[in-house]
Symmetry: C2
Subunit: 208 residues, 2 copies
DNA sequence: CGATTGCCTTGACTTATGTCAAGAAGGGGT
DNA sequence: ACCCCTTCTTGACATAAGTCAAGGCAATCG
């Protein structure tokens, strides 16, 4: 850790500020110290697909360090954030001398690959209601509450994370409420029927 | 390389044979020596989303080695194939003593992360015609022919790779032919209008 | 306290793509 | 050469989800 700190450079960004754009050349990567960073892709028409939100302790923009290509997506702060920047060559040297660091890095990349396989599966094989159900179930686990969860992002951003648009998401929230699966109150979602949600998430059918 | 060979175990599989299933525990990974391996996810209803095709020299199933979780997808031989299997612990030991090996592995994982970001972008932000146009353009580059490409997989499998179904793909081939963008003859596709294809791939609009 | 702004919801409509069903075309094997 | 079996194509239809437009709600700021 001391060695790592030595090569790091601070960077602070405000909400809405861009860290890097897709296609930018990369001469290093960042680790989030505080705040939240959104990684996303944009279409020509302006539609956004969010790939990740990253918080404290997570590295961002590490892919081009090893693949030697430009950044594959955009990174933007969704809140005032504090980052550490690590220059590429210094980090490569560090990893070369430090097997456990490289194994950690391999583990991180592997986990992200796994997340992407899930995201691709969701986009391609599931419809939006199933994706939302699966997200809510995941949130409940992460927040360690079986019965109610709090959205950490706006519904518009959630739509973009799930690969849809706010209108569609809103309608599905309404439908789930109709079916007594959930209750929505602003950013607080009460999971009235967690089993039903899991069923919906697995087989795409609203339970009868 | 000698050290690597030492810990490898041969495995031969026939066309259609499964190497591993999603969810299987993993005690090592494979490298393709010859043949082609399909990596895919299946929905409950049986729809398939293909994630990759891997050929000679490419590792498969390496994600769980580092993330310590089960395989995230299925692997199946689409042709008679020859693989090398590397037990997990032996490989981890090897990588620990061998920085350049770990850097290579990091580079491979990074490239795959990048490919996945493109696949997610395609699924979420582009419609099927644009995905097909982009695939054909990519094939032309890979095969280093500007004017005609040969599909290396069946059209049904291509549909699954693009996140759609054979019927839809077939209709889009027909439409592209109508618009004089391509000419289809079995597995041979003549790119009548490569510029038009790129345009379609970028902005999703059939050129006028 | 009212107004401005951004975010969310709802409605009417359009469209891309999936479903189901039938037929055509191609490729191997006997 | 024939037949079988898989793959591909085409048509008619259903539907999930996007587009466009209007209005509501809530938070923030002067």
């Amino acid at each position: 850790m001391q060695d790592i700190r030595k090569i790091g450079v601070e960077r602070k960004v405000n909400k809405g500020e861009t860290i890097f754009f897709e296609g930018d050349d990369c001469n290093g990567f960042y680790v989030v110290v505080s705040g939240t960073i959104k990684i996303s892709k944009l279409s020509l028409e302006g539609k956004e697909q969010i790939l990740h939100f990253f918080g404290p302790g997570e590295p961002i923009g590490e892919v081009p360090v090893f693949s030697g290509q430009p950044f594959p997506a955009n990174a933007e702060a969704v809140a005032k954030s504090h980052l550490m920047f690590f220059p590429r060559q210094a980090f490569v040297d560090l990893i070369t001398d430090n097997p456990s660091l490289s194994l950690n890095m391999l583990a991180i990349l592997s986990k992200r690959l796994r997340q992407f396989t899930v995201q691709i599966e969701n986009l391609s094989l599931k419809e939006v209601p199933a994706r939302l159900a699966s997200y809510l179930t995941y949130l409940a686990e992460e927040q360690e509450k079986a019965d109610a969860v709090t959205l950490t992002i706006s519904k518009g951003q959630l739509a973009s994370l799930l690969g849809t648009i706010p209108e569609t998401l809103s309608r599905i929230f309404a439908k789930m409420t109709d079916q007594n699966l959930i209750k929505v109150n602003g950013k607080t979602i009460t999971l009235t029927d967690p089993m039903g949600l899991e069923e919906l998430s697995d087989n795409g059918q609203f339970p009868s």
